[in-house]
Symmetry: C2
């Protein structure tokens, strides 16, 4: 049984918060540094995870401001 990669843990964790409604459209995520600390991974790994979530349309990064949950388009 292969172990779950760290970046998948982050992807799943953040996705779970969104799906559970603990993070709603427009909400700001913790910063890279905070997420890295929470999951005990490097900032690089956090970025990998967030890039995937961004590609999936769940979140959107805004330079200088933060990373935000996208509005649920229910599509």
């Amino acid at each position: 049984m292969p172990r779950t990669p760290d970046y998948v843990r982050v992807v799943d964790g953040v996705t779970g918060l969104i799906k559970a409604g603990e993070l709603k459209g427009g909400d700001r995520l913790p910063t890279y540094a905070e997420l890295a600390k929470q999951y005990e991974v490097s900032v690089t790994t956090v970025q990998t995870a967030l890039r995937i979530l961004s590609e999936r349309g769940l979140i959107e990064g805004q330079q200088g401001k933060g990373v935000f949950v996208c509005d649920d388009k229910r599509g």
Copy 2:
């Protein structure tokens, strides 16, 4: 006018080959190292690009073997 990031050039380049039919379902892509050389970027940047294409369902990596174009599901 912001300049196009390197990884986007790779994403667009490979996507173009697939869309144009020069790379068909089941075909193997060049290795990381070869793509890095072709686009004059680092292997890390190639990996970033291929991760995106994988997330989009265009390609699929197989450890020890290579990266392959997914069968077009026409969906």
